[in-house]
């Protein structure tokens, strides 16, 4: 017997035949029992009950293996995902990641007169031009004649909540004299791991360029006042890493057009301690993190497999990918794609590109992942995290549908196409590293199209190649492409 024999349940007719055969072995005159008679009907009842057990045997057999458990379906074809969740939990100690919420940094400004206003978490609701709602996550006080930046979280989880910068501009819980906007800031909120009492503040005139993440690492305990503290600066920019220092700490340090100001804490203590870390990204995008759907079964199975390379003290590429996936789940970052490769320009460096379902990753997410890896990489090896480069994918062609079905087919095709783009690996689908035009065909036909002609992706009637750091972006208000809307639709009777 093979495992595969257990995976496919025998049908009721087969079970009934086995029952009859066994009874015949006991000298029952089974050939005299006619269909519809009492005995055959009772046997059919028993066979029907046993059929459920047959299905259960298949589930139990498949439930012991990641890929089989991930592909289980019920008789109607609907996915059964709890067997894999059970396997992941019980055998790998991994819990499936739930859907996460998009978070935005929104500036609230009050004219002089009606303020100040203080509202607790959840009392303010903002709405975007696309109709998505956000609630403030913490208590916020809007000063009279001033402004404050507060964090808002989408009311609904998932990757479908996408709003372009500058489009969350209305409070549905209005306050007289208060206006809101999700504007780009000079800097992200610094990620601070400072155990001393000191502080670091970034500043710049205008928006710093190029976009980058700056990391300060304290390499010698001390203070600013006597320049006893020392630090290094690491700059991550466009997938490259640059290391500066160590420097004796003065009041300020200039990194290009960004100035970092260092300040001591109480005079009797060392303000900065060896090992302290501080990160900031510029510019500070209003999107703190994009929302993500519930972890797919394929991603969950991959995280389970990741446990094996994780046993080694020497990190493999899959170990780094595992760290990223784990950090993403623990911190609800929504990363669903990771690509790792050894640097071909700097020995001992591992390049890591990440993307969430929208096709990129926010600077806050990249910073969080960088910090996660920095404390885990060995002394002789380090990783550089960067967002994958989102690439707009525009499709073209003429799609023919039956009369009256255009809207339904458009909606189904758009959903399926975006779902596909959201899972294309960084660098494209293996082995050729492309966005496949064949998938566009499949999506349209599965959605109910009658025919399609002249299909193309980004101007070519062929698979569209991606570079190693590229990933297609999913259609949304702030995307440069439009899902399947660019297709020409026509109806036939």
């Amino acid at each position: 017997m093979a495992l595969s024999d257990l995976l496919v349940p025998r049908d009721r007719g087969t079970i009934e035949a086995i029952l009859l055969s066994t009874l015949q072995g006991e000298e029952f005159p089974v050939t005299d029992w006619y269909v519809g008679g009492v005995v055959r009907t009772i046997l059919k009842m028993i066979a029907t009950g046993l059929l459920d057990r047959e299905t259960l045997i298949g589930y139990i057999a498949a439930g012991g293996y990641l890929d089989l458990a991930a592909s289980l379906t019920d008789p109607s074809g609907a996915p059964i995902e709890d067997w894999l969740e059970l396997l992941a939990q019980e055998q790998y100690d991994i819990t499936r990641a739930p859907a996460t919420f998009a978070q935005k940094r929104i500036t609230l400004t009050c004219t002089t007169g009606p303020g100040p206003y203080t509202r607790t978490a959840g009392q303010l609701k903002a709405v975007s031009q696309a109709g998505n709602y956000y609630l403030n996550t913490d208590s916020v006080t809007i000063p009279n004649g001033g402004s404050v930046v507060a964090t808002f979280q989408a009311e609904t989880p998932g990757a479908a909540i996408v709003d372009a910068t500058g489009t969350i501009d209305e409070l549905t819980t209005p306050l007289p004299g208060v206006s809101i906007i999700d504007a780009q800031a000079q800097f992200s909120t610094p990620v601070v791991f400072i155990n001393g009492t000191g502080a670091i503040v970034p500043s710049a005139s205008g928006t710093p360029s190029p976009p980058r993440t700056i990391k300060v690492a304290i390499t010698q305990t001390g203070r600013v006042s006597d320049a006893s503290a020392q630090f290094t600066v690491t700059v991550y920019s466009d997938g490259n890493v640059y290391l500066f220092g160590p420097f004796a700490m003065g009041a300020t340090y200039s990194q290009g057009d960004v100035t970092l100001s260092f300040a001591d804490g109480p005079s009797s203590t060392n303000s900065f301690l060896t090992g302290d870390l501080w990160y900031v990204s510029t510019p500070g995008e209003p999107t703190i993190q994009n929302g993500a759907d519930q972890e797919s079964v394929a991603a969950l199975a991959q995280r389970c497999r990741d446990r094996w390379p994780a046993l080694s003290a020497i990190p493999t590429e899959s170990r780094y990918a595992s760290w990223v996936r784990t950090a993403s789940v623990e911190q609800q970052l929504g990363i669903n794609r990771v690509a790792t490769s050894p640097s071909i320009t700097i020995a001992g460096v591992v390049n890591i590109y990440v993307a969430d379902q929208t096709g990129t990753a926010t600077s806050e997410t990249v910073t969080a992942l960088q910090e996660y890896l920095d404390v885990r990489a060995s002394d002789i090896e380090r990783a550089v995290v960067a967002s994958a480069a989102g690439l707009g994918v525009t499709v073209a062609g003429t799609v023919t549908v039956r009369r009256g079905q255009t809207k339904a087919v458009q909606a189904a095709a758009s959903t399926a196409w975006n779902a596909y783009l959201a899972t294309v690996p960084i660098g494209g689908e293996p082995p050729t590293g492309t966005v496949r035009i064949g998938k566009l065909w499949q999506v349209l036909m599965d959605a109910g199209a009658y025919d399609a002609t002249g299909l193309g992706i980004n101007g070519a009637a062929a698979d569209f190649p991606l570079s190693a750091d590229q990933v297609p972006t999913v259609a949304g208000p702030d995307s440069s492409h439009t899902g399947t809307a660019n297709l020409t639709w026509q109806e036939v009777s």
């Binding site: 093979a2 086995i18 029952l19 890929d67 089989l68 020497i314």
Partner: protein, 274 residues
């Protein structure tokens, strides 16, 4: 239900009134019980197959293969091109049971993911001629060589033998950029201090391993990619059987860029890493 299963239980006095236990009654329920018991066996098998020993006992080779997929340990082979792989179920099950020390580290031998020993051991399991045959240590087995000239091979007990250094690499630079002409090395990269690269060298022919899509090449590259450390760059493998030579590795050029003319006149060949 009794320990004897449904067949025994349905015929026992615990089940049903006396009129059910006549000759035909017992025969009927015995039959139903047999079918139920057979199905219960399948239920037990479905659970038992999950363990390597259970799968072996049931003769479920495909269950072992599934478990191997989950543990990232495919079935081994006697030759690199065996299709399907021909490692016995018993041997494979034993390896699957020791996945923790295979991926982690063996207390005695070391190794694990990301290690040289891990790579060479997995190649050996996949059927590549990695193990040297004493006393011909330089002409049998396989060598893993890194850019700075360290050579490794398996020893006869499955551990790692650090052979030492290769000969002097005339053009290898010191860290200050000067060329002493005395440093050992193996120029895998024009940048002489770019230490991340490594390669494999087979001093015996591996006939099934050719530089076109084939099972042996796919296995080789998958193992190297999966088991190498993250920052290490696998540069490829060279097969240089006895009587052939690998000579005049070009100064300032990547190995791969030379492959069109490299090895001309010999049967040495290069297997690229992709």
């Amino acid at each position: 239900m009794s320990a004897g299963g449904y067949e025994a239980f349905f015929q026992s006095s615990q089940f049903g009134p006396n009129w059910m236990h006549g000759k035909w009654g017992n025969a009927y329920w015995r039959s139903i019980g047999k079918v139920l018991d057979a199905q219960n066996d399948l239920l037990r098998n479905a659970v038992s197959a999950r363990t390597p020993d259970g799968a072996v006992a049931l003769g479920m080779s495909d269950a072992l293969d599934r478990a191997g997929d989950d543990r990232l340990l495919p079935r081994g082979s006697s030759t690199p091109d065996a299709d399907p792989p021909d490692e016995s179920d018993a041997s494979y099950a034993a390896r699957l049971k020791s996945a923790w020390t295979t991926w982690g580290q063996d207390d005695t031998l070391g190794g694990g993911g990301g290690s040289v020993l891990g790579i060479l051991t997995q190649l050996e399991i996949a059927g590549f001629p990695v193990q040297p045959t004493p006393p011909n240590y330089w002409t049998t087995g396989a060598f893993l060589i890194n850019h700075i000239g360290r050579i490794y091979q398996l020893n006869t007990t499955g551990g790692l033998h650090v052979v030492g250094e290769v000969d002097v690499c005339a053009n290898r630079q010191n860290l200050d950029g000067s060329v002493s002409g005395t440093l050992p090395g193996f120029t895998l990269d024009a940048r002489d201090q770019f230490y991340s690269r490594w390669c494999l060298l087979f001093p015996v022919d591996v006939p099934s391993l050719v530089n076109t899509p084939c099972i042996a090449k796919a296995k080789l590259n998958q193992i190297c990619d999966r088991w190498k450390s993250a920052s290490a760059i696998y540069s490829g493998a060279a097969i240089v059987p006895s009587g052939n030579f690998l000579w005049g590795w070009p100064t300032g050029a990547l190995w791969g860029t030379w492959r069109a003319t490299w090895g001309t006149g010999t049967s040495a060949r290069f297997i690229d890493p992709t």
